[in-house]
Symmetry: C2
Subunit: 483 residues, 2 copies
């Protein structure tokens, strides 16, 4: 399936036409659209999970949970827009006595217009057709055109049918949502003058190529890409002494979860030198079998990535096989180890993401060496510290904060809760922007500020009218006021 040029242009034109009514719809109305989509997906969960499992091999338990996360996400965004803070309404009344006199000025966030969304392979629901990018864009009144991931094309089509029908039944404007497919259609979408922003989750090469297209347009547009992440974990000597077997079990469960195909998989684990932690992790992996990967292409890339790392000097294989046939047999866990000195000597070769159930233990000899190696780790979605109460880890936390969007204390990064405080993003290449793609503030990516100066009351957006008829939180003359 490849969307033809003319069809794509018709779809972006329809999306452009839908922008007006979508922006003009009240928050309550747009919330009802999101809830209708959520209800429709829930009502079709069995059928959707069956298609998804046949295409992604992720299993019905995981996939059923992911549908719940996806519909929960749609419902969260309905609450976010109903609450109203997302409008960032600000009113400065006129001050004729100021030098110079200042006018009445009222600022609000408005939808940017049609948004292109690129689905991820590894979350066929939560980061796909009706996932977080789509939900957050629709929430603020932006039409959405989704580029389907080739790894779950049938699921994408069926999901899109359900979304389109639900939106139509809920009275949403025609053209508000569409699905396209094919690599060329994706590139054309990013370059279409009617598209005003892009949401993307995928690989560094693919994401950077689309990013480059977006910023090279005559009118460059924001490209919100989530590209790749090593998700470093640091284990302190005290934590290792106190609970090494628990840490080994937790790590093994986290990096093998979903066949190691999570964006937040812990791919680098810094451990004090001279311990038996590697053997403990290897032992935990012994009980974990192979699991099918998302696509044949991903399965073929896994052994290639393993072999590349194994060939590096100073890298030891602790557990598993680099010669596995992941396409035929699924991907089995592999644990490598090296030293911080090795990372410092060859960061480009050792600090590379390998999609699949593998992780690299990095033994560090001192805090200074740890800091030096960490300084070479590229921007990441998450960074995790495993420490004990009373340890002085302030400098370490400061460094981890500098390289990641989410800093975890204990626990493992592979769970991403969808709520108001979530931050799923980080310095490049984790993301290409200063925003999150998960959680309430994801909507801010698809809004732009507009200020109205000396506007007649009747021409103002309702949220900016003097009496605050919608009861939204606002800042008035510098003072924050609840609704």
């Amino acid at each position: 399936m490849q969307t033809a040029t003319q069809e794509l242009q018709d779809l972006t034109a329809a999306a452009h036409t839908a922008s007006g009514p979508a922006a003009a719809a009240s928050d309550a109305v747009r919330a009802s659209w999101l809830l209708a989509v959520a209800d429709a997906l829930d009502a079709n969960v069995a059928e959707l999970v069956e298609i998804a499992d046949s295409e992604t091999r992720l299993g019905t338990v995981r996939l059923t949970g992911e549908v719940a996360r996806t519909t929960g996400q749609l419902r969260l965004f309905a609450r976010v827009i109903t609450e109203g803070s997302y409008l960032e309404a600000v009113i400065d009344h006129a001050n004729p006595g100021a030098t110079p006199p200042s006018p009445d000025l009222r600022r609000i966030l408005r939808p940017v217009g049609p948004v292109a969304v690129f689905s991820a392979s590894n979350f066929p629901f939560a980061f796909s057709v009706a996932g977080g990018d789509t939900a957050s864009a629709l929430a603020v009144g932006c039409p959405v055109i989704v580029k389907a991931h080739s790894g779950h094309l049938e699921l994408s089509k069926r999901t899109a049918e359900i979304v389109t029908q639900a939106l139509s039944d809920a009275g949403a404007p025609a053209g508000l949502f569409a699905l396209v497919a094919g690599r060329e259609a994706g590139a054309a979408l990013v370059q279409d003058p009617l598209i005003k922003a892009v949401g993307f989750t995928g690989s560094i090469p693919g994401g950077r190529a689309l990013f480059d297209l977006a910023v090279s347009r005559p009118e460059p547009i924001p490209f919100y890409g989530e590209l790749g992440s090593l998700n470093p974990v640091v284990i302190t000597p005290a934590a290792l002494a106190a609970r090494s077997s628990q840490l080994a079990a937790g790590l093994a469960a986290s990096f093998t979860m979903g066949a190691g195909q999570f964006c937040t998989k812990p791919g680098l684990v810094f451990v004090p030198a001279g311990s038996s932690f590697g053997a403990e992790v290897a032992a935990e992996c012994a009980g974990k079998g192979a699991a099918p990967m998302l696509t044949d292409r991903i399965a073929a890339a896994y052994p290639a990535g393993l072999a590349g790392l194994a060939a590096q000097p100073g890298v030891d294989l602790l557990s598993g096989s680099t010669g596995q046939d992941a396409e035929a047999d699924g991907a089995a866990p592999v644990v490598f180890s090296t030293t911080a000195a090795g990372v410092i000597a060859r960061p480009g070769e050792l600090l590379e993401e390998c999609f699949g159930p593998t992780t690299l233990l990095i033994e560090y000899a001192s805090d200074a060496e740890l800091a030096q190696a960490l300084a070479l780790v590229p921007g990441s979605l998450t960074a995790t510290v495993q420490a004990e109460d009373g340890e002085d880890i302030a400098a370490l936390v400061d460094q981890l904060t500098g390289l990641a969007g989410r800093v975890l204390f204990g626990g493992w990064p592979t769970g991403v809760s969808v709520n108001w405080a979530q931050q799923h993003g980080g310095p490049y290449p984790a993301t290409t922007s200063l925003f999150t793609s998960v959680g309430a503030t994801a909507v801010r990516r698809f809004q732009r500020p507009v200020a109205y100066q000396d506007a007649p009351e009747a021409l103002l957006p309702e949220a900016l009218r003097e009496a605050n008829p919608l009861g939204v939180p606002r800042r008035v003359d510098g003072v924050l006021q609840l609704g």
Copy 2:
């Protein structure tokens, strides 16, 4: 003056080193730095204005007012960070009963790191060394390296001395602020891996070239550029009938203000066809003499821009001379007129910004023709409607909202108040981002979100600690709470 490569690298290294202490400083401490800079500039206003006038020829009255705006801006940002909402603190407490269980998650905005600031020619204080970009970056804890504008180099150096001394006296970390000069140093600054964001105000070609450098880096960085703006004004038939002479006087005052060298100069004025408004504007300009322009280069470009527009078919010269020698004699006002049909036929030629005291009246025959021509106007900082009470202008306002960051009802766009609600930005090429470069929310450009998961209280930023010791506004478990 051209900053050498080694010196530039030393400065970015020093800025990088200052990032830690700047980020760690409390809001109250950073506010004290901003106030110290403001006080120092005010204390030296006479000397600064004298240097500025000798370099920019803007006159002491305007320049003295601009120093007040600049120090007022620094003091506004001190209030913004003291108030605390700018941190966007969000707390979601753990919910062990959720499916899956959700951890304690606390989100806050943190400084991005060293920022490069490119000064504008036309506001030697407010958009220059100690202007809005510098103030907003320092406010949130980002070191700043300013690329001086060659049009006011002596002023830049003297301002930088005062800023550096004031910051030092106030106890700010060394390396927090520096000045560089020269085109090559500017390009190198944007490409320096230690620079994490860029603020820019200037021309479309210059800004786009730097934007392209910023997004082509191995690690692309946000480029907050304000590039160019036509600032359309629409006069309705009723407004023209009610107050044409007042509109003519207001327009003439606005487009000639500061020799037409404001980013917000009204460059396009849509007027109903068949009126005598053009003659009225021409008559208002008769009394306005020539005024010196900022630099010889700008003065040389002005007649060239005028001649280019005059050569277009269907463009009439209503007032002034296109053959003037603005370098020798200063720039005198020039008024052109054309028709909406002409704009629709040749938008690329007629919708081009001409820096200087000139404006283009565009006669429209119907609302439909007006809408068709407006749809061709590039993104703008402002759009103004001059209408009368009771007119149905909702569709017009909607269209203007789509093309500008600030929509004015009556009045003229050349005044930009510095307060909480201001939005100075708009669709490309007005700006290259979804942010404002003036007003309280300008700080958001230099912050990135970080979430802390299950962090021990003592390791959290103060604003995220349970008892809210700083008293900042926060969202707790989805509910917005005042400080």
